[in-house]
Amino acid sequence: MPSSVFVVPILDRWLLHAPLHRVAALINWAAARECAREGGPTGLGLSGQLAEALSGEAPLVPRPREGPVRPQFLGLIPTRACNAACVYCGFGSVRQADVMDPKLAAAAVDWMAEHAVRCGRQSLDIHFFGGEPLIAGDVVDVAVHRTRAVAAEQGLTPHLEVATNGVYGEERARFVGDYFDTVVLSFDGFASIQNRHRPLTRGRASFEYVAATARVLSTSSTELCLRLCVADDNVDQLLEIVDWFCEEFRPAGIDFEGLQPTPESERAGLFAPDPYEFTVRFWRARQVVLERGVKPIYAAAIVEEPRITFCPVGNDTLILHPDGRVSACYLQEKDWRARGLDLYLGRLAEGTMDLDACAIERVRHLVADKPRCAECFCRWSCAGGCHVNHSFAGCPRTYDDFCLQTRLITACTLLEALDQGELAERLMSDRASMERLALWPSDRLEHWEDTHD
């Protein structure tokens, strides 16, 4: 029996999940016991279909990348400067900061285009991060048009994406809507919430700017994704917020992110939501969003394809910083260093990309080692979350709030895929059963007899 088969309690039933075989099944106690005792459904003659699906070695074991570097996309950080002063900001954004030389941005795009052609890729993928990238308007202008010009010349399809706070005028918003394929706009809800979470400098309100930008983007051709940070003060309004978002801004997607507490957010009196409440409210909001034809996103519970990493780290993604250094992650260097990580991969200078092969290998392998995830049925979907803030070497082995809500949401997602949405609803209304599932000590099938009550 492959060791990548997991079983977790769902009320009086058991959810068997074998992500590497892409198999999920809802079974009863007797079947779970037989599976565990007999070495799995293959030894049982339980269900011919299930036995067949789980037979043999797992065909889809995600492994660290090998061979030449193949970036998923090129990320540009035009500046770390930002015109907002979000109370939970973890990007080290300040009002004044270095700005990338537009020549550097153009050289980076050229490198990525050459790479894309050499690798036989069809698209040229450039993403912008910050700070607030649109603060460095000339860098963005040059990089966007250089991308489109080079892509047209090389027969590539440009794909431009930006993570933005939306605090700028209508003209800039129209540019963003016209030229970016995907816009991830940070927006936390109604005016009182948005202005509390995401004030501008000197405490000024951001809501009107962001709502105006969202309206412009909603009428443009861009794919608009609203990124909603959920804290203890807006979790109980999730349903109303997403209903309003869908009605007012017609986004393609809404990305729900639980607040990642920082010393700054705690000083501001803002705390992470209770993970059980987050799960229940998210699940209800998700149904509303789906009914409106909008895609709900909880990035740690994407179960379609097994993965080894949650984010660009480990996928060979190259993030270019304003000073020409290239890293695997868009977070700040001091945050990685605090975890004992070195995520620099090289440097772009005078048009030459100098990548350190050892650094690339080191980062590729760092994503494979996550002791906290060893017993968890989400290990190939959540993949441990953020390598810097969540699953770093030496992190506690016990589940934290992110783990708890991810385990619950993943289970409900699998149940829904099994056409057991009603069971997911019943689970959501039974706090004791939610806790039992979320805190289950080991999900591995071979540990079932030791763990179940």
Partner: protein, 91 residues
């Protein structure tokens, strides 16, 4: 150099390989590929010719003088074709 703005009767749409411009008064349509598409975008956002030339030299890998000349010629053509009008100076 001066700033321009799009003429009132002009509409445009950004496409993958450039910009499609339509003169709704005459029915004249034209497709601007790169680098003219970049000049169009920067011009309709009210950037000066000097700034456009500076950015275009990086967008299209042109020498600064070459870029200035191309921007001046292209803006002139956009004006003569009625797509752009010169912005009144308020200085």
């Amino acid at each position: 150099m001066t700033r321009c703005r799009p003429a009132r009767h002009v509409a445009w749409a950004v496409e993958t390989k450039g910009v499609f411009v339509l003169d709704r008064a005459t029915g004249t349509a034209t497709f601007l590929s790169y680098p003219e598409a970049a000049i169009w975008d920067l011009a309709v956002r009210g950037e000066t010719g000097d700034l456009i030339a500076g950015e275009l030299s990086l967008i299209a890998s042109l020498q600064p003088e070459e870029s200035r000349k191309l921007v001046a010629e292209t803006l002139e053509r956009f004006r003569s074709e009625g797509f752009l009008v010169e912005e009144e100076s308020h200085g």
